[in-house]
């Protein structure tokens, strides 16, 4: 007679008492408690002001605690679209973004590719030197640049043999601000690109070398595509933060002048709020800016997700 080998015993799962609700809550609490202080600060310093800004954008108020804020509905927004200064400042903001892209993307990529083969201590020294401008306070560098670009005794005019008033001439003020900001950001962008390049597995380059690709082909077909998430990140930073990065320079050197030549949207909304004391106009411009840049950021983040190649 054949007898089948019995399968391993199957037992009904035993009942195990779950811990009490307070005990389970206590166990789950620590991560939330750790996050709580940061969250509280965010709410107090970012989200509450944001909500208040949105509220203020529907009022007319001159920032004086003694005078009442009067509700005006969408009037502030309507005024924004009719004021010629707004359109001009938006155009200048685009100029700043376009003017900074070479400093934050093009030059860093070129420098990154060319210096890729600098190794060891030389690399650390070089990166420290390139990064240094970011550590200089904008207000301090503004003073130094004012000397360098002085129409009378400035170094640049001496070298060029000209007497251009770089910072206070309607043609040159905006390019000068862009170049100075670019000088600040260049080192940071070079470091970001260097980190991006270092993140690309060397195996790809070596495989391509054996596969017969030239240096140029490897750069075009392997390195740049794999670097594209980093490049999108840099574009994102430039688009969203350009106007903010220029702010301290504009405020110390040109105050938006001459005749509005360096007034971009950030400076304009600051001007509305704290020079003209028109809280309603300033906040409505701020909210509009927040929405537009939020949408741009969403598109770029989506793009960088799409471009990221998860290798393993």
């Amino acid at each position: 007679m054949f007898v089948e080998v019995p399968a391993p015993a199957v037992v009904a799962p035993p009942r195990v008492a779950r811990p009490s609700v307070p005990r389970r809550l206590l166990r789950a609490a620590p991560p939330y408690l750790y996050v709580a202080p940061a969250l509280a600060l965010l709410v107090i310093w970012t989200y509450r002001p944001l909500v208040q800004t949105a509220q203020l954008s529907f009022y007319s108020w001159n920032l004086l605690p003694t005078s009442p804020a009067t509700p005006v509905g969408l009037d502030n927004y309507a005024r924004l679209f009719t004021l010629p200064a707004v359109g001009a400042s938006v155009w200048r903001t685009l100029e700043v973004i376009g003017g900074l892209l070479p400093f934050t993307v093009v030059i860093p990529v070129l420098v990154g590719l060319l210096t890729q083969r600098i190794q060891g201590r030389a690399r650390a020294v070089y990166q420290a030197m390139v990064f240094a401008p970011l550590l200089v306070a904008p207000v301090a560098s503004a003073t130094v640049w004012e000397w360098l670009l002085d129409p009378g005794a400035g170094l640049l005019n001496k070298i060029l043999g000209t007497s251009t008033n770089w910072l206070h001439d309607a043609t040159w003020a905006q390019p000068a601000i862009i170049v100075i900001t670019g000088w600040h950001l260049l080192g940071f962008a070079v470091l970001v690109v260097a980190a991006g390049l270092a993140n690309i597995n060397r195996d790809y380059t070596e495989a391509a070398l054996i596969d017969g690709a030239s240096r140029g082909q490897i750069t075009r077909w392997i390195t740049l595509p794999l670097l594209s998430p980093t490049l999108v990140f840099l574009v994102l930073m430039t688009v969203l933060l350009s106007a903010q990065w220029t702010f301290p320079l504009i405020d110390t050197i040109t105050q938006g002048g001459p005749s509005g030549a360096t007034t971009n949207v950030y400076y304009l909304l600051w001007d509305y709020s704290f020079h003209s004391f028109d809280a309603g106009l300033g906040t409505s411009a701020g909210i509009l800016l927040f929405v537009v840049f939020g949408l741009v950021a969403l598109v770029l983040v989506w793009l960088s997700e799409k471009l990221a190649f998860h290798d393993n």
Partner: protein
């Protein structure tokens, strides 16, 4: 064509000499495996052949052409990386076609060759996919396809199976051997896995500390290991290596150590000589009528078809391997026998294999080179 000649290749990294004066001829159509433990320099040697590492000394030739200073792209070699190094942003089709695209071949030719290779490797269904959408085995095949697509002088492979699971590794091993038989190309294959080396190689080059220990067919390196390193590296468990003394009693030679007394089956007269005695675990027979080794069983391992018994013999540890059941239990005294033909002798300091010369004829130029095979005087 794919004949590779390596002459006194040396590669240093700072104070470390990764490859130390390796001289090796790889014939056209050979499946040569570079075998050794991690850090033995086998990968560095392969990278030097590929041109990814520049040799500090020595010369490389491919089909009679000096390629020592030729950049990798002009060496006409293909390589499969341990990580596969599939370009993550390119489809399988573009990955396989990459070497042809880099060489600016016409589109039609690229398409045709990619289709052929994909068909041979059963990748046709996957041509549109990205590497991250593939399983480990599929990635391995794509990496192989990228090497096959352009008929190179030789194929270099750096542990291509180490990222696969055990079952897939066994079947891929078989496929690689098939591929080699079909292509008749030269394969240089780096691994630390002795099973891969023994099953796939036409010849094995065993490296230790950057130096070549032995080059030979799988049978040669297993049956006649040239050094204690090779003896202790191959086999599972590896060869038992025991310090012993060789002496002659009457006109017969014997090897002796505590609890060991084995006839060498040779007639001759030698002064008492220190040696290292080597015996493969599978050549030891328990329960024999003419035992030469006495010990105590410490541990018995069940391998399914076979058993391995670890025994204390004098001060040494000796492994015995045989079909299950061996009939041994821990704590048992055991007597072991071995055929004289299965005894290996090695020099106690250099570790090189000792050969017996029947006729002690006076050699015209006595060699003192420690790397030469020693002669038992």
């Amino acid at each position: 064509m794919g004949q590779i000649r390596i002459r006194a290749a040396t590669k240093r990294f700072g104070a470390v000499t990764a490859v130390d004066g390796v001289t090796l001829d790889i014939a056209d159509g050979e499946f040569l495996v570079l075998l050794g433990p991690s850090g033995c320099g086998k990968s560095t040697l392969l990278r030097a052949i590929a041109g990814l590492a520049q040799l500090d000394e020595g010369q490389l030739e491919l089909d009679g052409r000096d390629i020592t200073h030729v950049p990798p792209r002009d060496r006409d070699l293909a390589m499969v990386f341990q990580s596969y190094a599939l370009y993550p942003h390119l489809s399988v089709e573009r990955n396989i076609g990459f070497p042809l695209r880099a060489r600016r071949r016409p589109r039609k030719e690229i398409d045709r060759k990619v289709t052929d290779v994909a068909e041979a490797l059963e990748l046709t269904e996957l041509l549109r996919r990205r590497p991250r959408e593939l399983s480990g085995g599929q990635r391995q095949r794509v990496a192989l396809g990228r090497a096959l697509v352009r008929d190179p002088g030789a194929f270099l492979m750096d542990e291509p199976l180490s990222n696969l699971d055990a079952k897939l590794r066994a079947s891929t091993r078989y496929e690689l051997v098939e591929l080699h038989r079909r292509l008749r190309g030269t394969f240089v294959y780096v691994t630390h896995d002795q099973v891969e080396a023994m099953t796939m190689a036409t010849r094995i080059a065993i490296l230790s500390g950057g130096k070549l220990e032995q080059v030979g067919t799988p049978t040669e390196v297993y049956d006649e290991p040239a050094s204690t390193f090779v003896a202790g590296f191959l086999g599972s468990p590896p060869m038992n290596l025991i310090r012993a003394k060789v002496s002659s009693r009457g006109r017969m030679l014997f090897a002796a150590a505590p609890d060991i007394n084995l006839p060498l089956g040779r007639i001759g007269v030698v002064p008492e000589t220190e040696v290292v005695l080597g015996i493969r675990p599978e050549h030891l027979r328990p329960h024999d009528s003419r035992p030469g080794i006495e010990g105590i069983v410490r541990l018995v391992e069940n391998l399914g078809a076979e058993e391995v018994a670890h025994c204390d013999v004098g001060t040494a540890r000796v492994a015995v391997r045989g079909p299950r059941p061996l009939g041994l239990a821990p704590g048992d005294p055991v007597r072991l026998a071995v055929e004289p033909d299965h005894l290996h002798l090695f020099h106690p300091t250099t570790g090189r294999r000792l050969l017996w010369q029947d006729d002690p004829a006076p050699s015209p130029s006595p060699r003192n080179d420690a790397t030469e095979q020693g002669v038992l005087a």
